[in-house]
Symmetry: C2
Subunit: 314 residues, 2 copies
């Protein structure tokens, strides 16, 4: 039996992130029935700050004094670096040396020690560091503390839109949807939470259909432009949350992701990264698969590469 | 003697806009010392919703039943149309027939009756309508109710950043800066409010230096890309607020406005219209003229023309 995050854990997380993460507003959109939850407004541009702060702040005094470890090539690295600085804790982040320079600089900019490693050592080196230093590892999604932190998104939606019918959430490792769905199930039993994934990285949708957690090849998931959603499987702790609380997982095409990112910017005035716009893509292009009524799309992040932004607008 | 908006009027306005305007968060930016107040997140993309809701909701029952009038080619038209719909009141908006189709459609989309008139009739036709129908006119800035509504921006800044040293506010007719400065003067006497204007539409800066309200030619103010800041003079009611509460008005060049708009989007993940980005431009390029310390730039609107956006990113 795996534990699921409950309301008490979610509310504890909400207290821990208060004053560090942004309490994002729920925005009316130009599209009837659609509201947007802009996690793009977080200090490092994505929801991941919520889970990082929750997990780090729950460490004991000895662990905090020792400092923490994380590995990531994306938003998680920046979130852990930012959260650690705000909580006054040393962070050591392992990043593959092919990660975008922009993200490496941002992580360093938050004061973390960044160690660049060859792609092949991106899992082995952090494990080695953990053994050698005894530092606590902050995982990107497969942790009940991280899930509870990301789930504060769901608490806020329940507060701002108690009459919501559908909540659309991007799925990668599953931390955001697990926590959000736990909150919605506890507070809004009439609402459904639906995951959204790129068709080209549709491991969670395939898992959901099969009823069994599937792993895809990283070579396959790397095909999507939604670089935050290339994780090749949901986690061992997130999967039971998805099974318990998520009503469906739909997939969207690359063209749909690009068009949704463009519409959010041009008509919705919101800069999203492609990974953050998949939820809106499901609303725009697959509404026939969604229940009717007031819908919230979680726009999970805004760290778009400037070259990608230019090409979307060209 | 002209009345100035006081704290009681500001707090009354805050109650009136609650649940209609977005309570925008104060966002940490990638630039040390700079925080952003993103009014771009309002339903129609600009702070003007605050003043429109305040002014309309203060009308008496008979005036509300009669419906309201407004004239504008920009964000004010959309704000009045949106506010009227939310408050269940008919709105008749006069718009010059050379206004962008995008803004005309948006105003109609909020359910207002839109009347297009030749540019030469943009003031005479609304006055005629007012005489004929007895409908109340909602002015874009020169109204104590509108000033109080816009000033809720200042109340929120005082709540979220009580240690702020400098608040930078775009200036056009002066409604936003008048209300914001009234709030800051009442609640944060240690902080200064500084207006920012395009050099090419620098009538308020010239007025401030001269100590006397100046009018510029509309042909001159039309030169700036900041189309929301082309008003050729501050108002008769806003001018005394500026004299009483504003510490300085600085001007920024067109290149500085363009670069600030670009930086806000690429590095700050915030889509601003050029008019909304002038405050950030003052921080980026004229910090030598500003007091040191924690600075808030009000990013007043996000209704940028897609063609302008593309050209900024090209």
């Amino acid at each position: 039996m795996t534990d699921l995050v409950d309301l008490a854990a979610l509310r504890d997380a909400a207290r821990r992130i208060d004053g560090i993460a942004v309490r994002t507003p729920l925005l009316e959109s130009p599209w009837p029935d659609l509201w947007l939850k802009p996690e793009t407004l977080q200090p490092m541009g994505a929801f991941k700050i919520r889970g990082a702060v929750t997990a780090i702040s729950r460490l004991g005094a000895a662990e905090r004094a020792r400092g923490i470890l994380a590995h990531s090539s994306g938003n998680h690295a920046q979130a852990v670096a930012y959260a650690a600085r705000r909580l006054g804790i040393d962070a050591h982040i392992v990043i593959p040396d092919n990660a975008p320079a922009r993200k490496i600089e941002a992580t360093r900019g938050y004061g973390a020690t960044v160690e660049l490693v060859p792609l092949t050592e991106r899992f082995s080196r952090p494990a080695e560091l953990q053994r050698e230093t005894g530092k606590a590892m902050i995982p990107p999604f497969d942790s009940l503390d991280v899930i509870a932190g990301q789930g504060t998104v769901g608490l806020e939606i329940a507060e701002d839109a108690p009459d919501v019918a559908v909540v659309l959430v991007p799925v990668s490792g599953g931390g955001l949807i697990s926590g959000t769905a736990a909150a919605v199930a506890a507070l809004l039993p009439h609402a459904v939470v639906i995951g959204v994934e790129p068709e080209l990285a549709g491991d969670a949708a395939a898992s959901f259909r099969a009823g069994v957690r599937q792993e895809w090849s990283p070579h396959d998931t790397a095909r999507t432009m939604a670089d935050g959603l290339r994780t090749f499987s949901v986690g061992h702790l997130t999967w039971p949350h998805i099974q318990a609380h998520v009503a469906d997982i739909v997939t969207v095409t690359e063209d749909e992701i690009a068009e949704a990112t463009r519409r959010l910017l041009i008509d919705g005035r919101l800069l999203a990264e492609p990974s953050g716009a998949v939820s809106a893509a499901a609303f725009f292009f697959h509404r026939d698969r969604l229940p009717p009524g007031r819908t919230v799309a979680v726009i999970s992040g805004g760290n778009i590469d400037p070259a990608v932004l230019r090409s979307l607008l060209a």
